[in-house]
Amino acid sequence: MSEKTSVLPCRKAFSEALFELAKEDRDIVVLTSDSRGSASVENFAEHLPGQFIDVGIAEQNLISIASGLAGCGKKPFIFAPACFLSTRSIEQIKIDVAYTNRDVKIIGVSGGVSYGPLGSTHHSLEDIAFMRAIPNMTVILPCDVNQTKALVKSLLSYNKPAYIRMGRNPVENVYDENIFFNIGKASLLSDGADATIIATGEVVKTAYDAALILRDKGIYTRVIDMHTVKPIDEEIIIESARKTEFIVTVEEHNIRGGLGSAVAEVLIKRLPVKMYMAGIPDEFSITGSQKEILEYYNITPEGISNIVLKELRRG
Protein backbone atom coordinates (compact mmCIF):
# COMPACT_ATOMS: atom_id res chain seq x y z
CA MET A 1 0.00 0.00 0.00
CA SER A 2 1.27 3.42 -0.87
CA GLU A 3 0.87 6.66 1.02
CA LYS A 4 -2.47 8.41 0.90
CA THR A 5 -1.36 10.94 -1.65
CA SER A 6 -4.26 12.54 -3.39
CA VAL A 7 -3.26 12.80 -7.01
CA LEU A 8 -4.91 12.86 -10.40
CA PRO A 9 -8.19 11.56 -11.69
CA CYS A 10 -7.68 8.19 -13.41
CA ARG A 11 -8.86 9.62 -16.74
CA LYS A 12 -5.96 12.05 -16.69
CA ALA A 13 -3.48 9.32 -15.83
CA PHE A 14 -4.87 7.15 -18.63
CA SER A 15 -4.57 9.88 -21.19
CA GLU A 16 -1.03 10.83 -20.14
CA ALA A 17 0.18 7.24 -20.26
CA LEU A 18 -1.43 6.66 -23.64
CA PHE A 19 0.03 9.88 -25.01
CA GLU A 20 3.56 8.67 -24.26
CA LEU A 21 2.87 5.39 -26.06
CA ALA A 22 1.16 7.12 -28.98
CA LYS A 23 4.23 9.22 -29.70
CA GLU A 24 6.04 5.99 -30.50
CA ASP A 25 3.17 4.05 -32.05
CA ARG A 26 1.53 5.99 -34.85
CA ASP A 27 -1.27 3.43 -35.19
CA ILE A 28 -2.77 4.53 -31.87
CA VAL A 29 -5.75 6.75 -32.65
CA VAL A 30 -7.78 8.63 -30.06
CA LEU A 31 -11.42 9.30 -30.82
CA THR A 32 -13.88 11.39 -28.88
CA SER A 33 -17.36 12.82 -29.20
CA ASP A 34 -16.73 16.42 -28.19
CA SER A 35 -15.26 15.27 -24.86
CA ARG A 36 -11.66 16.30 -25.28
CA GLY A 37 -11.79 18.25 -22.04
CA SER A 38 -13.77 15.91 -19.85
CA ALA A 39 -11.74 12.97 -21.15
CA SER A 40 -8.45 14.86 -20.76
CA VAL A 41 -7.33 14.19 -24.32
CA GLU A 42 -6.52 17.78 -25.36
CA ASN A 43 -2.85 16.82 -25.60
CA PHE A 44 -3.66 14.52 -28.52
CA ALA A 45 -5.62 17.24 -30.31
CA GLU A 46 -2.79 19.66 -29.82
CA HIS A 47 0.33 17.58 -30.30
CA LEU A 48 -0.76 14.49 -32.25
CA PRO A 49 -3.57 15.82 -34.47
CA GLY A 50 -2.95 13.12 -37.07
CA GLN A 51 -3.88 10.54 -34.44
CA PHE A 52 -6.92 12.35 -33.08
CA ILE A 53 -10.48 12.33 -34.35
CA ASP A 54 -13.34 14.32 -32.87
CA VAL A 55 -16.69 13.27 -34.34
CA GLY A 56 -18.77 15.86 -32.53
CA ILE A 57 -21.69 14.81 -30.36
CA ALA A 58 -22.40 11.57 -32.21
CA GLU A 59 -21.72 8.53 -30.05
CA GLN A 60 -23.06 5.96 -32.52
CA ASN A 61 -20.85 7.22 -35.30
CA LEU A 62 -17.96 7.36 -32.83
CA ILE A 63 -17.97 3.63 -32.15
CA SER A 64 -18.47 2.49 -35.74
CA ILE A 65 -15.71 4.76 -37.03
CA ALA A 66 -13.35 3.22 -34.49
CA SER A 67 -14.34 -0.24 -35.70
CA GLY A 68 -13.61 0.79 -39.29
CA LEU A 69 -10.21 2.11 -38.23
CA ALA A 70 -9.43 -1.11 -36.36
CA GLY A 71 -10.38 -3.08 -39.46
CA CYS A 72 -7.60 -1.24 -41.27
CA GLY A 73 -4.93 -1.94 -38.65
CA LYS A 74 -5.32 1.07 -36.39
CA LYS A 75 -5.50 0.83 -32.59
CA PRO A 76 -8.44 3.04 -31.64
CA PHE A 77 -9.04 4.29 -28.10
CA ILE A 78 -12.44 5.92 -27.66
CA PHE A 79 -12.95 8.48 -24.91
CA ALA A 80 -16.36 9.79 -23.89
CA PRO A 81 -18.55 9.97 -20.79
CA ALA A 82 -19.44 6.45 -19.70
CA CYS A 83 -23.13 7.37 -19.42
CA PHE A 84 -23.46 8.08 -23.16
CA LEU A 85 -21.05 5.44 -24.48
CA SER A 86 -22.73 2.64 -22.60
CA THR A 87 -26.27 3.50 -23.61
CA ARG A 88 -26.43 5.62 -26.76
CA SER A 89 -23.93 3.47 -28.63
CA ILE A 90 -24.61 0.07 -27.14
CA GLU A 91 -25.69 -1.50 -30.45
CA GLN A 92 -22.60 -0.23 -32.22
CA ILE A 93 -20.53 -1.70 -29.39
CA LYS A 94 -22.35 -5.02 -29.64
CA ILE A 95 -22.12 -5.34 -33.41
CA ASP A 96 -19.28 -3.26 -34.78
CA VAL A 97 -16.88 -3.91 -31.92
CA ALA A 98 -17.78 -7.15 -30.15
CA TYR A 99 -19.54 -9.23 -32.83
CA THR A 100 -16.97 -8.18 -35.41
CA ASN A 101 -14.32 -8.74 -32.73
CA ARG A 102 -12.33 -5.63 -33.50
CA ASP A 103 -9.53 -4.41 -31.26
CA VAL A 104 -11.27 -1.27 -30.04
CA LYS A 105 -10.76 0.14 -26.54
CA ILE A 106 -13.77 1.98 -25.17
CA ILE A 107 -12.88 4.31 -22.31
CA GLY A 108 -15.90 5.49 -20.36
CA VAL A 109 -14.89 8.47 -18.26
CA SER A 110 -16.76 10.19 -15.44
CA GLY A 111 -18.49 6.90 -14.75
CA GLY A 112 -20.75 5.83 -11.89
CA VAL A 113 -22.15 8.86 -10.07
CA SER A 114 -19.10 11.05 -10.53
CA TYR A 115 -21.26 13.57 -12.40
CA GLY A 116 -23.43 13.42 -9.26
CA PRO A 117 -25.44 16.66 -9.27
CA LEU A 118 -26.14 16.53 -13.01
CA GLY A 119 -28.76 13.81 -12.58
CA SER A 120 -29.38 10.33 -13.92
CA THR A 121 -28.82 11.31 -17.56
CA HIS A 122 -25.17 11.67 -16.59
CA HIS A 123 -24.85 8.69 -14.26
CA SER A 124 -23.65 5.36 -15.60
CA LEU A 125 -24.91 2.74 -13.21
CA GLU A 126 -25.83 0.11 -15.79
CA ASP A 127 -22.67 0.02 -17.89
CA ILE A 128 -21.07 -3.01 -16.25
CA ALA A 129 -24.30 -4.98 -16.71
CA PHE A 130 -24.65 -3.99 -20.35
CA MET A 131 -21.05 -4.63 -21.31
CA ARG A 132 -20.82 -7.86 -19.35
CA ALA A 133 -23.70 -9.35 -21.33
CA ILE A 134 -21.94 -8.85 -24.66
CA PRO A 135 -19.75 -11.74 -25.86
CA ASN A 136 -16.09 -10.93 -26.61
CA MET A 137 -16.14 -7.88 -24.33
CA THR A 138 -13.67 -7.39 -21.53
CA VAL A 139 -14.77 -5.09 -18.70
CA ILE A 140 -12.19 -3.34 -16.53
CA LEU A 141 -12.46 -0.75 -13.75
CA PRO A 142 -9.13 0.56 -12.48
CA CYS A 143 -9.13 2.03 -8.98
CA ASP A 144 -6.26 4.50 -8.91
CA VAL A 145 -3.69 6.37 -10.94
CA ASN A 146 -0.84 3.90 -10.60
CA GLN A 147 -3.03 1.00 -11.60
CA THR A 148 -4.46 2.99 -14.50
CA LYS A 149 -0.98 3.70 -15.87
CA ALA A 150 -0.16 -0.01 -15.66
CA LEU A 151 -3.45 -0.87 -17.32
CA VAL A 152 -2.70 1.31 -20.35
CA LYS A 153 0.50 -0.64 -21.00
CA SER A 154 -1.26 -3.98 -20.68
CA LEU A 155 -4.10 -2.89 -22.95
CA LEU A 156 -1.76 -2.16 -25.80
CA SER A 157 -0.83 -5.80 -26.14
CA TYR A 158 -4.35 -7.05 -25.37
CA ASN A 159 -5.80 -7.32 -28.85
CA LYS A 160 -9.46 -7.69 -27.89
CA PRO A 161 -12.41 -5.36 -27.44
CA ALA A 162 -12.49 -3.85 -23.97
CA TYR A 163 -14.58 -1.40 -21.99
CA ILE A 164 -12.72 0.58 -19.33
CA ARG A 165 -14.68 2.61 -16.80
CA MET A 166 -13.14 5.38 -14.76
CA GLY A 167 -14.46 8.21 -12.62
CA ARG A 168 -14.11 11.93 -12.90
CA ASN A 169 -12.55 13.01 -9.65
CA PRO A 170 -9.03 12.69 -8.21
CA VAL A 171 -8.50 9.46 -6.30
CA GLU A 172 -6.12 8.33 -3.60
CA ASN A 173 -3.62 5.70 -4.57
CA VAL A 174 -4.16 2.14 -3.51
CA TYR A 175 -1.19 0.77 -5.43
CA ASP A 176 2.48 1.66 -5.63
CA GLU A 177 4.02 2.87 -8.82
CA ASN A 178 5.31 0.53 -11.49
CA ILE A 179 2.98 -2.36 -10.83
CA PHE A 180 1.99 -4.80 -13.57
CA PHE A 181 -1.67 -4.97 -14.55
CA ASN A 182 -2.68 -8.56 -15.14
CA ILE A 183 -5.97 -8.43 -17.04
CA GLY A 184 -8.36 -11.05 -15.70
CA LYS A 185 -6.37 -11.74 -12.53
CA ALA A 186 -7.71 -10.05 -9.42
CA SER A 187 -5.45 -8.56 -6.73
CA LEU A 188 -5.57 -9.60 -3.10
CA LEU A 189 -5.08 -6.44 -1.07
CA SER A 190 -5.34 -7.97 2.39
CA ASP A 191 -6.09 -11.37 3.83
CA GLY A 192 -8.22 -12.61 6.69
CA ALA A 193 -10.55 -15.41 7.69
CA ASP A 194 -13.62 -13.53 8.93
CA ALA A 195 -15.14 -12.19 5.73
CA THR A 196 -14.27 -11.23 2.17
CA ILE A 197 -14.85 -7.85 0.57
CA ILE A 198 -14.66 -7.79 -3.23
CA ALA A 199 -14.73 -4.39 -4.90
CA THR A 200 -14.16 -2.92 -8.32
CA GLY A 201 -13.12 0.50 -9.55
CA GLU A 202 -12.68 3.54 -7.42
CA VAL A 203 -14.59 2.10 -4.46
CA VAL A 204 -11.78 -0.43 -3.96
CA LYS A 205 -10.30 2.22 -1.68
CA THR A 206 -13.57 2.28 0.27
CA ALA A 207 -13.40 -1.49 0.68
CA TYR A 208 -9.80 -1.32 1.80
CA ASP A 209 -10.57 1.38 4.37
CA ALA A 210 -13.50 -0.69 5.63
CA ALA A 211 -11.06 -3.52 6.25
CA LEU A 212 -8.86 -1.18 8.27
CA ILE A 213 -11.82 -0.20 10.50
CA LEU A 214 -12.62 -3.88 11.00
CA ARG A 215 -9.02 -4.74 11.79
CA ASP A 216 -9.09 -2.23 14.64
CA LYS A 217 -12.00 -4.23 16.03
CA GLY A 218 -10.09 -7.49 15.69
CA ILE A 219 -11.88 -8.63 12.54
CA TYR A 220 -9.75 -9.73 9.62
CA THR A 221 -11.08 -9.56 6.10
CA ARG A 222 -9.84 -10.52 2.68
CA VAL A 223 -10.03 -7.53 0.37
CA ILE A 224 -10.00 -8.25 -3.33
CA ASP A 225 -9.66 -5.73 -6.13
CA MET A 226 -11.72 -7.28 -8.92
CA HIS A 227 -10.50 -4.78 -11.50
CA THR A 228 -11.48 -7.09 -14.34
CA VAL A 229 -15.19 -7.80 -13.98
CA LYS A 230 -15.14 -9.81 -17.20
CA PRO A 231 -13.52 -12.25 -17.67
CA ILE A 232 -13.84 -12.61 -13.90
CA ASP A 233 -11.21 -14.31 -11.77
CA GLU A 234 -13.26 -17.32 -10.65
CA GLU A 235 -10.48 -18.95 -8.68
CA ILE A 236 -9.98 -16.13 -6.22
CA ILE A 237 -13.74 -16.01 -5.61
CA ILE A 238 -13.90 -19.73 -4.87
CA GLU A 239 -10.78 -19.54 -2.73
CA SER A 240 -12.46 -16.75 -0.76
CA ALA A 241 -15.65 -18.74 -0.34
CA ARG A 242 -13.59 -21.60 1.08
CA LYS A 243 -11.79 -19.33 3.54
CA THR A 244 -14.68 -17.13 4.67
CA GLU A 245 -18.37 -17.76 4.92
CA PHE A 246 -19.47 -14.29 3.96
CA ILE A 247 -18.69 -12.18 0.92
CA VAL A 248 -19.55 -8.52 0.45
CA THR A 249 -19.31 -6.96 -2.99
CA VAL A 250 -18.86 -3.20 -3.38
CA GLU A 251 -19.48 -1.29 -6.57
CA GLU A 252 -20.51 2.12 -7.86
CA HIS A 253 -23.22 0.53 -10.01
CA ASN A 254 -26.79 -0.68 -9.83
CA ILE A 255 -26.85 -3.81 -7.67
CA ARG A 256 -28.53 -5.61 -10.57
CA GLY A 257 -26.16 -7.01 -13.13
CA GLY A 258 -22.86 -5.61 -11.91
CA LEU A 259 -19.97 -6.97 -9.88
CA GLY A 260 -22.24 -8.51 -7.24
CA SER A 261 -24.13 -10.44 -9.87
CA ALA A 262 -20.92 -11.55 -11.55
CA VAL A 263 -19.54 -12.88 -8.25
CA ALA A 264 -22.86 -14.55 -7.43
CA GLU A 265 -22.86 -16.30 -10.81
CA VAL A 266 -19.55 -17.92 -9.89
CA LEU A 267 -20.54 -18.84 -6.35
CA ILE A 268 -23.94 -20.28 -7.17
CA LYS A 269 -22.52 -22.85 -9.56
CA ARG A 270 -19.48 -23.85 -7.51
CA LEU A 271 -19.65 -22.96 -3.82
CA PRO A 272 -22.58 -20.87 -2.60
CA VAL A 273 -21.92 -18.74 0.47
CA LYS A 274 -23.90 -15.88 1.89
CA MET A 275 -23.41 -12.57 0.10
CA TYR A 276 -24.26 -8.94 0.49
CA MET A 277 -24.22 -6.70 -2.56
CA ALA A 278 -23.38 -3.11 -1.72
CA GLY A 279 -24.07 -0.64 -4.50
CA ILE A 280 -26.72 1.69 -5.79
CA PRO A 281 -30.19 0.17 -5.34
CA ASP A 282 -32.37 -0.38 -8.38
CA GLU A 283 -33.65 3.18 -8.57
CA PHE A 284 -32.63 6.40 -10.27
CA SER A 285 -30.08 7.72 -7.83
CA ILE A 286 -30.59 10.78 -5.71
CA THR A 287 -28.37 13.66 -6.74
CA GLY A 288 -25.59 15.47 -4.97
CA SER A 289 -21.84 15.27 -5.07
CA GLN A 290 -20.37 11.84 -5.76
CA LYS A 291 -19.31 11.68 -2.12
CA GLU A 292 -22.79 12.61 -0.88
CA ILE A 293 -24.47 10.03 -3.08
CA LEU A 294 -22.13 7.25 -2.00
CA GLU A 295 -22.66 8.22 1.63
CA TYR A 296 -26.44 8.22 1.17
CA TYR A 297 -26.28 4.64 -0.08
CA ASN A 298 -23.78 3.61 2.64
CA ILE A 299 -20.96 2.96 0.19
CA THR A 300 -18.43 4.22 2.72
CA PRO A 301 -15.78 2.52 4.86
CA GLU A 302 -18.18 2.72 7.83
CA GLY A 303 -21.12 1.45 5.80
CA ILE A 304 -19.21 -1.54 4.46
CA SER A 305 -17.65 -2.38 7.81
CA ASN A 306 -21.11 -2.26 9.43
CA ILE A 307 -22.39 -4.82 6.93
CA VAL A 308 -19.62 -7.19 7.99
CA LEU A 309 -20.10 -6.49 11.69
CA LYS A 310 -23.85 -7.08 11.49
CA GLU A 311 -23.36 -10.36 9.68
CA LEU A 312 -20.70 -11.64 12.09
CA ARG A 313 -22.85 -10.77 15.15
CA ARG A 314 -25.70 -12.66 13.63
CA GLY A 315 -23.40 -15.61 12.94
Binding site: V29, G50, V55, N61, A66, G71, I95
Partner: protein
Protein backbone atom coordinates in the same frame (compact mmCIF):
# COMPACT_ATOMS: atom_id res chain seq x y z
CA UNK B 1 -10.40 -5.99 -65.23
CA UNK B 2 -10.04 -3.25 -67.83
CA UNK B 3 -11.09 -5.49 -70.70
CA UNK B 4 -14.40 -6.56 -69.21
CA UNK B 5 -17.21 -5.38 -71.43
CA UNK B 6 -20.74 -4.38 -70.64
CA UNK B 7 -22.40 -7.46 -72.14
CA UNK B 8 -20.26 -9.69 -69.93
CA UNK B 9 -21.46 -7.73 -66.89
CA UNK B 10 -25.07 -7.90 -68.03
CA UNK B 11 -24.87 -11.66 -68.47
CA UNK B 12 -23.16 -11.96 -65.12
CA UNK B 13 -26.01 -10.00 -63.52
CA UNK B 14 -28.52 -12.48 -64.97
CA UNK B 15 -26.51 -15.39 -63.64
CA UNK B 16 -26.32 -13.80 -60.18
CA UNK B 17 -30.08 -13.13 -60.20
CA UNK B 18 -30.79 -16.79 -60.99
CA UNK B 19 -28.59 -17.80 -58.11
CA UNK B 20 -30.30 -15.36 -55.74
CA UNK B 21 -33.67 -16.92 -56.54
CA UNK B 22 -32.19 -20.40 -56.18
CA UNK B 23 -30.64 -19.72 -52.79
CA UNK B 24 -33.78 -18.13 -51.40
CA UNK B 25 -36.06 -20.86 -52.71
CA UNK B 26 -33.89 -23.73 -51.51
CA UNK B 27 -33.08 -22.28 -48.08
CA UNK B 28 -36.53 -20.84 -47.46
CA UNK B 29 -34.86 -17.65 -46.22
CA UNK B 30 -33.74 -14.31 -47.52
CA UNK B 31 -34.69 -10.93 -48.87
CA UNK B 32 -35.46 -11.31 -52.54
CA UNK B 33 -36.67 -7.81 -53.48
CA UNK B 34 -33.68 -5.82 -52.30
CA UNK B 35 -31.21 -8.45 -53.48
CA UNK B 36 -32.54 -8.20 -57.01
CA UNK B 37 -32.62 -4.40 -56.94
CA UNK B 38 -28.95 -4.19 -55.95
CA UNK B 39 -27.62 -6.90 -58.28
CA UNK B 40 -26.43 -4.64 -61.10
CA UNK B 41 -24.64 -2.34 -58.66
CA UNK B 42 -22.86 -5.28 -57.01
CA UNK B 43 -21.91 -6.82 -60.35
CA UNK B 44 -20.51 -3.54 -61.65
CA UNK B 45 -18.47 -3.02 -58.51
CA UNK B 46 -17.14 -6.55 -58.12
CA UNK B 47 -16.40 -7.41 -61.75
CA UNK B 48 -15.30 -4.01 -63.00
CA UNK B 49 -14.54 -1.41 -60.36
CA UNK B 50 -13.19 -2.79 -57.08
CA UNK B 51 -9.46 -3.30 -56.67
CA UNK B 52 -9.51 -6.63 -54.84
CA UNK B 53 -7.66 -9.92 -54.83
CA UNK B 54 -9.70 -13.01 -53.94
CA UNK B 55 -6.45 -14.86 -53.21
CA UNK B 56 -5.55 -12.23 -50.63
CA UNK B 57 -8.79 -10.94 -49.07
CA UNK B 58 -6.90 -8.94 -46.43
CA UNK B 59 -4.57 -7.18 -48.88
CA UNK B 60 -3.92 -3.83 -47.18
CA UNK B 61 -4.29 -1.80 -50.38
CA UNK B 62 -7.62 -3.32 -51.40
CA UNK B 63 -10.73 -1.28 -51.99
CA UNK B 64 -13.29 -1.82 -49.24
CA UNK B 65 -16.92 -2.64 -49.89
CA UNK B 66 -19.51 -2.61 -47.10
CA UNK B 67 -22.98 -4.00 -47.62
CA UNK B 68 -24.75 -1.69 -45.18
CA UNK B 69 -28.11 -3.11 -46.30
CA UNK B 70 -26.92 -6.43 -44.98
CA UNK B 71 -30.15 -8.24 -45.77
CA UNK B 72 -29.40 -8.15 -49.52
CA UNK B 73 -26.92 -10.88 -48.99
CA UNK B 74 -27.67 -13.61 -51.51
CA UNK B 75 -26.19 -11.80 -54.51
CA UNK B 76 -23.23 -10.73 -52.39
CA UNK B 77 -22.44 -14.32 -51.34
CA UNK B 78 -22.89 -15.56 -54.90
CA UNK B 79 -20.39 -13.01 -56.20
CA UNK B 80 -17.88 -13.77 -53.45
CA UNK B 81 -18.14 -17.45 -54.39
CA UNK B 82 -17.95 -16.77 -58.10
CA UNK B 83 -14.77 -14.72 -57.62
CA UNK B 84 -13.20 -17.38 -55.41
CA UNK B 85 -13.34 -15.77 -51.96
CA UNK B 86 -15.35 -18.78 -50.82
CA UNK B 87 -16.12 -22.16 -52.33
CA UNK B 88 -19.17 -22.35 -54.59
CA UNK B 89 -20.31 -25.49 -52.77
CA UNK B 90 -20.59 -23.47 -49.58
CA UNK B 91 -23.48 -21.47 -51.05
CA UNK B 92 -25.63 -24.54 -50.47
CA UNK B 93 -25.19 -24.05 -46.71
CA UNK B 94 -26.81 -20.59 -46.83
CA UNK B 95 -28.94 -20.09 -43.70
CA UNK B 96 -28.48 -23.75 -42.74
CA UNK B 97 -27.50 -24.93 -39.25
CA UNK B 98 -24.11 -23.56 -38.17
CA UNK B 99 -23.26 -22.17 -41.59
CA UNK B 100 -21.12 -19.06 -41.69
CA UNK B 101 -23.33 -17.90 -44.55
CA UNK B 102 -25.91 -16.34 -42.26
CA UNK B 103 -28.83 -14.21 -43.39
CA UNK B 104 -26.65 -11.15 -42.84
CA UNK B 105 -22.93 -11.12 -43.63
CA UNK B 106 -20.07 -11.32 -41.14
CA UNK B 107 -16.30 -10.98 -41.31
CA UNK B 108 -15.97 -14.72 -40.80
CA UNK B 109 -16.45 -14.86 -44.57
CA UNK B 110 -13.34 -13.94 -46.57
CA UNK B 111 -13.94 -10.72 -48.47
CA UNK B 112 -16.57 -9.39 -46.07
CA UNK B 113 -15.45 -6.19 -44.32
CA UNK B 114 -18.17 -5.72 -41.71
CA UNK B 115 -20.91 -7.50 -39.77
CA UNK B 116 -24.02 -5.81 -41.07
CA UNK B 117 -27.72 -6.49 -40.71
CA UNK B 118 -28.67 -3.79 -38.27
CA UNK B 119 -29.20 -0.82 -40.54
CA UNK B 120 -27.39 2.47 -40.25
CA UNK B 121 -23.93 1.17 -39.32
CA UNK B 122 -22.23 0.80 -42.70
CA UNK B 123 -21.51 4.41 -43.54
CA UNK B 124 -19.86 5.08 -40.17
CA UNK B 125 -17.72 1.97 -40.60
CA UNK B 126 -16.82 3.26 -44.04
CA UNK B 127 -15.86 6.64 -42.59
CA UNK B 128 -13.44 4.82 -40.27
CA UNK B 129 -11.90 2.86 -43.13
CA UNK B 130 -11.64 5.98 -45.29
CA UNK B 131 -10.01 7.89 -42.44
CA UNK B 132 -7.49 5.06 -41.99
CA UNK B 133 -6.72 5.27 -45.71
CA UNK B 134 -6.06 9.00 -45.44
CA UNK B 135 -3.89 8.54 -42.33
CA UNK B 136 -1.80 5.87 -44.04
CA UNK B 137 -1.70 7.78 -47.34
CA UNK B 138 -3.20 4.82 -49.20
CA UNK B 139 -5.14 5.28 -52.39
CA UNK B 140 -7.84 2.67 -51.81
CA UNK B 141 -11.50 3.63 -51.97
CA UNK B 142 -14.33 2.67 -49.64
CA UNK B 143 -17.77 1.85 -51.06
CA UNK B 144 -20.86 1.60 -48.87
CA UNK B 145 -24.13 0.29 -50.28
CA UNK B 146 -27.15 1.49 -48.31
CA UNK B 147 -30.84 0.83 -48.63
CA UNK B 148 -33.34 3.63 -49.05
CA UNK B 149 -35.48 2.63 -46.08
CA UNK B 150 -32.21 2.67 -44.15
CA UNK B 151 -31.94 6.40 -44.79
CA UNK B 152 -34.26 6.98 -41.83
CA UNK B 153 -31.49 5.85 -39.44
CA UNK B 154 -30.04 8.89 -37.69
CA UNK B 155 -26.56 7.40 -37.53
CA UNK B 156 -26.28 7.66 -41.33
CA UNK B 157 -26.50 11.42 -41.03
CA UNK B 158 -23.92 11.48 -38.26
CA UNK B 159 -21.60 9.70 -40.67
CA UNK B 160 -22.59 11.93 -43.58
CA UNK B 161 -21.67 15.03 -41.59
CA UNK B 162 -18.39 13.49 -40.49
CA UNK B 163 -17.32 12.38 -43.99
CA UNK B 164 -17.72 15.91 -45.28
CA UNK B 165 -15.92 17.38 -42.28
CA UNK B 166 -12.90 15.13 -42.83
CA UNK B 167 -13.01 15.65 -46.62
CA UNK B 168 -13.25 11.94 -47.38
CA UNK B 169 -13.16 11.91 -51.17
CA UNK B 170 -12.13 8.25 -50.94
CA UNK B 171 -15.59 7.37 -49.59
CA UNK B 172 -18.47 6.52 -51.92
CA UNK B 173 -21.96 6.05 -50.57
CA UNK B 174 -24.50 4.31 -52.78
CA UNK B 175 -28.23 4.34 -52.13
CA UNK B 176 -30.25 1.50 -53.67
CA UNK B 177 -33.29 3.70 -54.25
CA UNK B 178 -35.89 1.03 -54.96
CA UNK B 179 -38.56 3.17 -53.26
CA UNK B 180 -39.98 0.35 -51.14
CA UNK B 181 -39.30 -0.85 -47.64
CA UNK B 182 -40.81 -3.65 -45.58
CA UNK B 183 -43.88 -1.64 -44.64
CA UNK B 184 -44.60 -0.20 -48.07
CA UNK B 185 -43.39 2.74 -50.17
CA UNK B 186 -40.69 4.80 -48.45
CA UNK B 187 -42.73 7.93 -49.05
CA UNK B 188 -45.63 6.34 -47.15
CA UNK B 189 -43.60 4.91 -44.26
CA UNK B 190 -41.20 7.82 -43.76
CA UNK B 191 -40.77 10.21 -46.62
CA UNK B 192 -37.19 10.64 -47.81
CA UNK B 193 -37.55 13.16 -50.59
CA UNK B 194 -35.85 15.30 -51.57
CA UNK B 195 -33.14 12.70 -50.91
CA UNK B 196 -30.65 14.11 -53.38
CA UNK B 197 -30.97 17.56 -51.83
CA UNK B 198 -30.52 16.09 -48.36
CA UNK B 199 -27.19 14.52 -49.29
CA UNK B 200 -26.07 17.61 -51.18
CA UNK B 201 -26.88 19.78 -48.18
CA UNK B 202 -24.66 17.54 -46.05
CA UNK B 203 -21.77 18.42 -48.33
CA UNK B 204 -21.71 15.35 -50.56
CA UNK B 205 -21.32 15.39 -54.32
CA UNK B 206 -24.47 13.64 -55.52
CA UNK B 207 -24.69 11.71 -58.78
CA UNK B 208 -27.98 10.13 -59.88
CA UNK B 209 -27.89 7.01 -61.99
CA UNK B 210 -30.16 4.29 -63.37
CA UNK B 211 -29.11 1.49 -61.03
CA UNK B 212 -29.89 -1.15 -63.64
CA UNK B 213 -27.97 0.46 -66.49
CA UNK B 214 -24.58 -1.17 -66.13
CA UNK B 215 -22.97 1.02 -68.74
CA UNK B 216 -24.08 4.12 -66.80
CA UNK B 217 -22.98 2.60 -63.51
CA UNK B 218 -19.51 1.91 -64.89
CA UNK B 219 -19.18 5.48 -66.15
CA UNK B 220 -20.29 6.92 -62.81
CA UNK B 221 -18.06 4.71 -60.68
CA UNK B 222 -15.07 5.44 -62.90
CA UNK B 223 -15.60 9.18 -62.43
CA UNK B 224 -15.21 9.01 -58.63
CA UNK B 225 -14.14 11.11 -56.80
CA UNK B 226 -16.26 13.58 -58.65
CA UNK B 227 -14.93 16.46 -56.56
CA UNK B 228 -11.60 16.67 -54.82
CA UNK B 229 -12.01 16.69 -51.01
CA UNK B 230 -15.69 15.72 -51.14
CA UNK B 231 -17.37 12.37 -50.52
CA UNK B 232 -19.55 11.05 -53.36
CA UNK B 233 -23.12 9.84 -53.03
CA UNK B 234 -24.44 7.73 -55.88
CA UNK B 235 -28.21 7.78 -55.85
CA UNK B 236 -29.06 4.67 -57.84
CA UNK B 237 -32.66 4.52 -59.00
CA UNK B 238 -33.70 0.88 -58.97
CA UNK B 239 -36.71 -1.38 -59.00
CA UNK B 240 -37.32 -3.76 -56.13
CA UNK B 241 -37.42 -7.33 -57.41
CA UNK B 242 -35.78 -6.26 -60.70
CA UNK B 243 -35.55 -9.03 -63.29
CA UNK B 244 -38.64 -10.98 -62.32
CA UNK B 245 -41.58 -9.04 -63.71
CA UNK B 246 -44.32 -10.43 -61.48
CA UNK B 247 -42.53 -9.43 -58.27
CA UNK B 248 -41.15 -6.08 -59.42
CA UNK B 249 -42.17 -3.09 -57.33
CA UNK B 250 -44.33 -5.21 -55.03
CA UNK B 251 -43.80 -4.49 -51.32
CA UNK B 252 -44.80 -8.02 -50.26
CA UNK B 253 -41.74 -9.36 -52.09
CA UNK B 254 -39.40 -7.66 -49.60
CA UNK B 255 -38.73 -11.03 -48.04
CA UNK B 256 -41.37 -13.41 -49.36
CA UNK B 257 -40.23 -16.93 -50.20
CA UNK B 258 -41.43 -18.15 -53.63
CA UNK B 259 -43.65 -21.21 -53.88
CA UNK B 260 -42.41 -23.97 -56.19
CA UNK B 261 -44.65 -22.65 -58.93
CA UNK B 262 -43.42 -19.09 -58.47
CA UNK B 263 -39.86 -20.35 -58.38
CA UNK B 264 -40.29 -22.11 -61.72
CA UNK B 265 -41.75 -18.96 -63.27
CA UNK B 266 -38.90 -16.87 -61.88
CA UNK B 267 -36.20 -19.12 -63.28
CA UNK B 268 -38.00 -19.37 -66.62
CA UNK B 269 -38.06 -15.61 -66.91
CA UNK B 270 -34.46 -15.19 -65.78
CA UNK B 271 -33.40 -17.75 -68.38
CA UNK B 272 -34.82 -15.70 -71.24
CA UNK B 273 -32.03 -14.67 -73.58
CA UNK B 274 -33.67 -11.45 -74.59
CA UNK B 275 -34.45 -8.93 -71.90
CA UNK B 276 -37.51 -7.77 -73.81
CA UNK B 277 -39.22 -11.14 -73.55
CA UNK B 278 -41.09 -10.75 -70.32
CA UNK B 279 -43.22 -13.43 -68.85
CA UNK B 280 -46.20 -11.31 -68.10
CA UNK B 281 -47.50 -7.89 -68.81
CA UNK B 282 -47.66 -4.96 -66.48
CA UNK B 283 -44.04 -4.81 -65.43
CA UNK B 284 -43.16 -1.77 -63.41
CA UNK B 285 -40.67 -0.16 -65.76
Amino acid sequence: MEDIDISFLENKAKEIRRNIVDMIYHSGAGHIGGSLSSTDILVTLYYKILRIDPRNPVWTDRDRFILSKGHSVEGYYTILADLGFIDREELKTYCKFNSRLTGHPTVKIPGVEANTGSLGHGLSLGVGMALAGKMDKKDYKVYVLMGDGEQAEGSIWEAAMCAKHYKLDNLIGIVDRNKLQIGGPTEYVMSLEDLSAKWASFGWEVVEVDGHNISQLVTVFESVPVKYNKPTLILAHTVKGKGVSFIEDKPEWHHKIPTSEEYTRMIRELNQEDDNVREDIGSAV
